[in-house]
Symmetry: C2
Subunit: 132 residues, 2 copies
């Protein structure tokens, strides 16, 4: 009997999709994932649900517009849930979905890479800029 595990389906997907190809829908998904705000919002939600204002506080410098816009896209893509609690004032919580949790390791990896290799990049830039 033909049973398909999640792992097998992913193997299949890996063969069917290729972001190197133009036209491939993964190209569009890739461009959504490679977003500064996504790389900050996903890690910010790692420890559990957070309110809009909490996220705005955690992610310094993000505008209200970009935060909302990013959260909406993440919600549509199934990475985040949005829960509204009817009260006065309204309370809205965002939380990672299982799919969002799967993305988390990837996002935190980029953030960590930037933080741990900043000095090396600085050195490289200095060298590059100093050459004739």
């Amino acid at each position: 009997m033909a049973t398909t595990t999640a792992a097998q389906r992913r193997e299949q997907a890996k063969r069917d999709y290729d972001a190197f190809l133009d036209r491939c829908p993964t190209r569009e998904l890739l461009s959504r994932l490679t977003d500064k705000w996504v790389a900050l919002v996903i890690p910010a939600l790692a420890d559990g649900p957070r309110r809009h204002s909490e996220l705005a506080g955690r992610i310094a410098g993000v505008s209200q517009k970009m935060l909302t816009q990013t959260l909406r896209t993440l919600e549509r893509d199934g990475l985040v849930t949005r829960t509204v609690t009817a009260s006065v004032p309204v309370r809205v919580d965002y939380e990672l979905t299982p799919l969002g949790h799967e993305l988390f390791p990837v996002m935190i990896a980029i953030k960590n890479w930037a933080e741990t290799h900043m000095d090396q990049v600085f050195q490289a830039r200095a060298q590059f800029d100093a050459r004739p």
Copy 2:
């Protein structure tokens, strides 16, 4: 005697830098790394040196301008080397530096994630768009 290993220095860097903070230089580095073309160029260079035209062929749809621009930035940041062979016509090869090789796992992870979860994202979008 005080010796510092690379691992220790990275631990230190992790404490000193925080991309959640505005003003932190890692925020700028993060925005450079979260770039669609970077996520394609780094994996395209994983197997060894590649010429400009080879990369353009591999990464379908990239314009000459964006490819050159991306490679320049990667070179400046110490992730890629650019080697010119004086011949007619000129031959230019790009290759990952050790630092670039360290970034590779992170970049391929994003690309793979997009390819293996495309279907789930499609489903999530369909559900989101179908709701009242």
